[in-house]
């Protein structure tokens, strides 16, 4: 059984918000990220993601799908960045275009990962994004 090395468990687990309307994607990311030591909260659309980010919880990372039932552009990313500028954001999408990718990076996303992806790679990318957000 292969797994990313678990995070050192001294401080409380880093918190990750996984936003996707596809339950299987939420499940696989949630399982993999938990195994890697993250505390994972799930959201199935933009509104519940924003609700999670607004209720006082601070997130270390957000894994955000580009196309959601209530979001089909980069405005959601913009609002998320405004609410929690310290959180590292990794976007994922099945609809990537070069314009969308460069727009997301300009708004501060760490990376845009095309779907489908390897879940272990995604766990690595989330780790890198957090390091990058903390300024190493």
């Amino acid at each position: 059984m292969e797994m990313s090395p678990p995070a050192v468990k001294k401080s409380p687990s880093p918190r990750v918000l996984v936003v996707d309307d596809e339950a299987l994607i939420r499940w696989s990311l949630s399982e993999s990220l938990s195994e890697a030591g993250y505390a994972v909260i799930e959201a199935g659309d933009g509104a519940s993601a924003l609700a999670q980010l607004s209720n006082g919880h601070v997130f270390d990372a957000i894994v955000l799908d580009y196309r959601l039932p209530d979001s089909n552009d980069l405005r959601l990313l913009e609002r998320i960045r405004a609410l929690q500028p310290a959180a590292a954001v990794v976007m994922m999408t099945a609809y990537g275009t070069p314009e969308m990718t460069s727009g997301a990076l300009k708004l501060g996303a760490y990376r845009v990962v095309p779907k489908p992806f390897d879940v272990h790679d995604m766990v690595d990318v989330v780790g890198q994004a957090r390091e990058s957000a903390r300024g190493f």
Binding site: W27, E31, P98, K115
Partner: protein, 473 residues
């Protein structure tokens, strides 16, 4: 009614100048047309000698005519000139007849003069008109072919010579059906017979799009309009042939483009909609896989499932690449460098282990998108490698030809089967048992996005030769 009055009315209303004179030439009668033609009123002319309308350079003419009239002869259609009051010279055709008294003695002459001045200028007009028509026929881009009622070619203009590849001399006197492919070739005589017999118009006066046949046997689409005429009692048919090759090709291209756009839209939707569930399945099965015993049968099945999903994803990626080729972001690049990288990518794939690739030649930098060119070259190399079943040689030659960089890829494979040569760039046409048939279509689209061109040949000696031309920077 008085016959003399009838005669007088006829004389007065005649378009010809009618003059009566005695044997001395003294004018006795002068009709309205004579007034118009010569400009003298009857009152001015009657009683004078007719010599005043005869040009001075014809002093003997009147004497000769008078002598013949006196002898009882008639002078017919004698062409000469007369001078009108205003000095105008009138071309006339004269018919002079003796006037006899009751005893039969000639006492004078009647002269009927027809103004043929107009007719001479009319001849010139006709010549000019014919010249004009001839130059139109000669200069026409369209082919013009005249046949008789049996279908024999009587005229064949330079436009027709260009279209059909025959000279006018070659086809004069032959049956027009040599310009038609089967079945029209065999059926044309019957068509003509039926038309002549029944008058039922299938093409005459209507015009239609048909296929024509060149001297070399190739065919091309034309619009044919046929007119019928009668020349000296013989029926003739004039065919005007307008070449539709470029129009048909353009229509075909437009149809193809429209189809590609629709296909592209559809493929893009499908591809995107497939990717999301692929991500869901891949992620979930991967997580499940990590929970199975390492080395178990189930774990290896999961690994296989993931591999299949990745293959499916590559197919979707190819479909998207074809359907929505990315806009090139051109920078000056070294084609040989890109080819080198591409060859390394091919070598990294073990299934092409026994394929030897050589790259040679040189060319200046071109403006292109290196990533897209890599896709182009990799597709071409993989095609060749697969055609050779992983065994043989691929040689790539780069050179400069005018304003183009030319990349020629040749292989030692079996060449391209004749039945697919015409459809190489048609999407979803493939000779492989597995494959999407998108490779060459995508390659073509990407090259065209770079304003280049691609052609594929299957030379006599075997193998395939692909020539890619890309404009230099």
């Amino acid at each position: 009614m008085d016959p003399e009055r009838i005669l007088g009315a006829i004389v007065e209303s005649s378009d010809d100048a009618i003059i009566a004179k005695d044997l001395d030439g003294t004018i006795l009668a002068w009709n309205a047309s004579a007034e118009r033609m010569y400009g003298y009123a009857a009152a001015e002319a009657i009683g004078r000698n007719v010599g005043f309308i005869i040009p001075s350079d014809r002093p003997d003419e009147l004497k000769d005519i008078t002598r013949r009239i006196a002898a009882g002869e008639r002078v017919q259609h004698f062409e000469t000139t007369r001078v009108a009051k205003d000095g105008r010279v009138v071309d006339v055709s004269l018919t002079v007849s003796p006037i006899k008294d009751a005893s039969g003695t000639v006492i004078g002459a009647s002269t009927v003069a027809r103004d043929i001045t107009v007719s001479n200028s009319r001849i010139q007009q006709l010549r000019d008109s014919e010249e004009r028509l001839r130059s139109v026929v000669e200069a026409a881009v369209d082919g013009i072919v005249v046949i008789d009622a049996r279908g024999t070619i009587e005229a064949f203009n330079p436009g027709a010579e260009r279209l059909f590849g025959y000279t006018a001399a070659e086809v004069h006197g032959t049956n027009v059906h040599i310009l038609m492919p089967e079945p029209y070739h065999s059926e044309h005589d019957g068509y003509m017979r039926r038309y002549i017999e029944t008058g039922e118009q299938k093409i005459i006066g209507i015009g239609r799009e048909v296929t024509a046949r060149r001297k070399d046997g190739t065919t091309f689409p034309i619009h044919l309009s046929v007119g019928e005429m009668t020349l000296n009692g013989d029926r003739k048919f004039t065919g005007i042939i307008h070449d539709l090759t470029s129009r048909v090709a353009m229509e075909e291209q437009l149809r193809e483009q429209a189809a590609l756009v629709r296909l592209g839209e559809m493929a893009a939707v499908i591809a995107h909609e497939v990717k999301n569930p692929l991500a869901a399945v891949r992620g979930a099965i991967q997580v499940i896989g990590t929970r199975l015993g390492a080395g178990s049968r189930e774990a290896s099945v999961v690994t296989d499932i993931i591999a299949r999903i990745d293959t499916l994803n590559l197919l979707v990626r190819d479909l998207l690449l074809f359907a929505r080729p990315p806009q090139p972001h051109p920078i000056p690049i070294d084609v040989l460098g890109v080819l080198g990288l591409t060859v390394n990518l091919l070598r990294a794939d073990d299934s092409h282990g026994n394929v030897a690739v050589t790259v040679e030649g040189e060319a200046p930098h071109i403006l292109a998108d290196a990533e897209l060119l890599k896709i182009v070259f990799l597709n071409l190399l993989i095609n060749s490698a697969q055609a050779m079943k992983g065994q043989g040689e691929i040689s790539v030659h780069v050179s400069r030809d005018g304003a183009d960089c030319v990349v020629v890829v040749t292989d030692t494979g079996p060449g391209i089967p004749p039945e697919v040569r015409g459809r190489l760039f048609t999407p979803f046409v493939t000779t492989k048992s597995r494959g999407t048939g998108l490779g060459l279509s995508t390659v073509k689209r990407l090259i065209e996005a770079h304003h280049g061109s691609i052609r594929v040949d299957s030379p006599e000696g075997g193998g395939a030769r692909i020539t890619v031309r890309l404009p230099l920077a």
